[in-house]
C-alpha cells in the first residue's frame, strides 16, 4: 500500500499503547510520514508532555494554543502542528460554547466540576473526543493524530462515549456522546493504531486491549506498530570459543568471556522479541509495522525522520503481505 492511500484512510488516527512503548515518538513519526506525503497534520496531545515538541526540535510543553512544529516542505509537503487538549481545557471550552463563559473559571475553582465529572464518569473523555470531533468537522488538518493516554486509560477513554449514550436519557451531553460514538465507529473518519514493544508484557496488553477496543468501542483498528525491534543478529551463530579455536586464535580469557556473554545476550533478546512478534501475529490478526530500535540517546528531528522513513517502508510493505 502506498503511504498516500494509507494516510487517506481516515481523518483521525488515535495512537494508543501501554506507557513507555514510545507512543508519543510514534505519533511524531506518523505525523512526519503523513506530512512527507503532502498531508497537513495536527497532533493532539492529551497530557501536555514535552516529547512531541522535542521530536521536532522545539522546546517546552505544548499549550492549549496550536503551535507549528514543522512548516510545509517545499514541493508538496504538508505542515505539522500540535496542541494540547486536556479534559479541563475541553470542559471550559464546552461551558463557554454553552453560554457559561462568565462562570466557567469560577466553576473550575469551586470544585463543582469534580463533583459533576465524578457523577458522570467519562464526561471528561467525551468532552475531549467531542473537541477532536469538532476539529475533524472543521477540517483543522488533513490528518489529526491523537496521542492517547496509556492503555488502561485508553480503553476507558475510547469506551466512555458509548457508556454515556446508554446512560444519559437525552440533552446536549447525550448528543455530544453520540457524535463521538459516530466518529469512533466510522472507519472512514477514525482509526486506532496500537503501539507496542516486542516484549511479553506490552504484547499481552496489546492483544487484550485490541479485543476490548473492538468489542466495546467498536473502533476500526489499523496496523499495530511494533517499536524498537532489534536487527537480526548476523555472524553470531557459533560460540566465541569455537570461532577462536577454529581460527587458531588465542584470546585473553576475560575478553573471550565478554564476547560470549555479549553474544548470548544478543541472541537471547532476539529470541524473546521474535517469540513475542510471533505471538502477536498468532493471537491478533492485524497487520504489523515493524520499526527498528534507534541507536540514539534522544529523539530529535533527525531520529523522527528516520522513524518516519521506516514507517513508510513498513506501510509500503503492507501490500506485499497481502494485508488490507
Amino acid at each position: 500500500m502506498d503511504v498516500d492511500t494509507f494516510c487517506a484512510q481516515s481523518h483521525v488516527i488515535v495512537v494508543a499503547g501501554k506507557g513507555g512503548v514510545g507512543k508519543t515518538t510514534m505519533s511524531a513519526a506518523l505525523a512526519r510520514m503523513a506530512a512527507g506525503a503532502g498531508r497537513s497534520v495536527l497532533i493532539v496531545e492529551l497530557e501536555g508532555k514535552s516529547g512531541i515538541t522535542a521530536a521536532f526540535g522545539r522546546h517546552g510543553d505544548l499549550g492549549y494554543e496550536e503551535v507549528l512544529l514543522a512548516p510545509a516542505a517545499p514541493g508538496g509537503g504538508g505542515s505539522v502542528r500540535a496542541r494540547r487538549l486536556t479534559p479541563d481545557d475541553a470542559l471550559v471550552e464546552y461551558l463557554e460554547d454553552h453560554g457559561l463563559k462568565r462562570v466557567s473559571k469560577r466553576l473550575a475553582h469551586s470544585g463543582i466540576l469534580d463533583v459533576v465529572s465524578t457523577a458522570i464518569p467519562g464526561i471528561r473523555d467525551v468532552l475531549v473526543l467531542g473537541k477532536v470531533k469538532q476539529l475533524e468537522r472543521d477540517g483543522a488538518a488533513d490528518l489529526i493524530l491523537v496521542d492517547a493516554p496509556a492503555t488502561g486509560h485508553a480503553i476507558t477513554f475510547l469506551t466512555s462515549a458509548s457508556g454515556l449514550v446508554s446512560a444519559a436519557r437525552g440533552g446536549p451531553l447525550r448528543a455530544q456522546a453520540q457524535d463521538v460514538v459516530d466518529l469512533l465507529s466510522d472507519p472512514a473518519r477514525c482509526r486506532v493504531m496500537l503501539v507496542t514493544l516486542p516484549e511479553e508484557l506490552p504484547v499481552s496488553e496489546t492483544i487484550e486491549s485490541a479485543y476490548t477496543l473492538e468489542d466495546k468501542a467498536g473502533v476500526q483498528l489499523g496496523p499495530v506498530i511494533i517499536n524498537a525491534c532489534d536487527p537480526e543478529p548476523v555472524g553470531l551463530e557459533r560460540p566465541a570459543a569455537e570461532v577462536a579455536a577454529a581460527a587458531g586464535l588465542t584470546v585473553v580469557p576475560e575478553h573471550l568471556a565478554a564476547l560470549e556473554e555479549a553474544r548470548s545476550f544478543r541472541l537471547a533478546r532476539h529470541a524473546v522479541s521474535t517469540e513475542q512478534i510471533e505471538r502477536l501475529r498468532r493471537d491478533l490478526p492485524l497487520p504489523h509495522l515493524l520499526v527498528p530500535a534507534l541507536d540514539a540517546p534522544s529523539i530529535g528531528p533527525a531520529e523522527t525522520q528516520v522513524l518516519a522513513a521506516a514507517l513508510a517502508d513498513a506501510v509500503t510493505a503492507l501490500v506485499a503481505e497481502g494485508a488490507p
Partner: protein, 364 residues
Amino acid sequence: MSTTESAGERAAPATMPDLVTERSVVVCCGSGGVGKTTVSATIALAAARAGRRSCVVTVDPARRLADALGVESLPNTPSEVQGDWPGHLFALMLDSKGTFDDLVQRYARTPEQAEAILANRLYQNLAGALSGTQEYMAMEKLYELVHSEEFDIVVVDTPPTRNALDLLDAPRRLTRFLENRLFRALLVPTRMSLRAVGVATQALLRTIAKVAGAEIVQDAVGFFQAFEGMEDGFRSRASAVHELLADPATAYVLVTSARPDAITEAGFFAEKLAERDVAVAALVVNRIAPFFGGATDETAERAPELGALEANLAALDALAQREEGAFSGLAAQVAPAPVGRIPLFGDDVHELLGLQRAADQLFS
C-alpha cells in the same frame, strides 16, 4: 513508625542496601511502563532477605507477577510469599474501591449511614472516576499497614503519575471534594445558605441538571447528605496520611527506565518533589543495558574471524555507556541519593526467580 525522627533522617541512604535495612516506609514512584511494580516487589524482597518483615502493596500488577506473589485471590489483604529468606515477605494487591469502602465503614456513625453511602451512585463512581482517588487509596493502605505495626518495612507501588504533586496532594484533594461548600450549602436550604450559594451558582446547577440530567444533581446532593457528620473523621485521617507522606523518614524511590523519554519524565517528577522539599531517597534505573566490558578494536583487526562477535560486543558496550550517560544528569539532580541499576536480562522472567535476580543486582 515514629514521626519524631530528626531532620537528618531526610538525608538519602548512603547506599542502596541501607534503604532496605534502615527505612520503614518506601514509596516507589514514576511514570508508566518503567517497571515500578517489579521494583517495589524487588525492594520488599531484598528487605525480607535482610531479615525484616516486609510488605509490598502492588497497584495493578501484571498477571505473572501477581501469580508469583499470590496476590490475586485476596485483594487488599497481605498474604505471605513463601521463599528461602531469613525474614518474611508479604504482598497485597490494592483494591481502591474496597479500601474506600473500609474507610466509609470505619467512620460511619451507624451501619445505616455506611449502607446509604455505599449504595449511592456517585459514591460508587468515586474510586474509579475522581482523579487522585487511586493514589490516595494506595497511600491510605500504606498508612494502615505502617500503623498495624505488623511490618518492619512497607513498600508501596503507586499508580503511574506524571506530576508528583498529584501523589502528595491526593489526601487533600479528596478532603476538598468531600467538603465541597457548594453542595454542602444546598443541604440546608435556609435563606442564609441560599444566599451563600448565590444566584449564579443556582443557575449553574439548573444548567447542569439540564445538560447532564437532573438525577446527577440529585445523586450528588444525596451523596453529601449521606456523608453528613463523617467529614471530621475523614479529614483527620487524610491529614494523618498526608503527614506520613511528608515525613522525612518516608523514602521516595524514583523509578525510571533508561529510555530518553522516561528519563525526561523522571526529571520532571524529581523537580516537582523538590518543590515540596521532598528529597529522592534513591533512584532506580530499571532495564538498563548490561555492560560486558572491554571491547578491543585491535583484536578485531588481528582476527577478522572474530569480527561479528567483536562488533556485537562493541555495540552493546556503546549502548550501555550511552544509557549510563543518559541518566547521569538525573543522578546529579537527585544527588546524594544512591543510584541502583537493574540490568536488562537476556530473558524476561516475571516470577520470583526474576525478582531475586533483580534484587541481586540492585543491592549488590
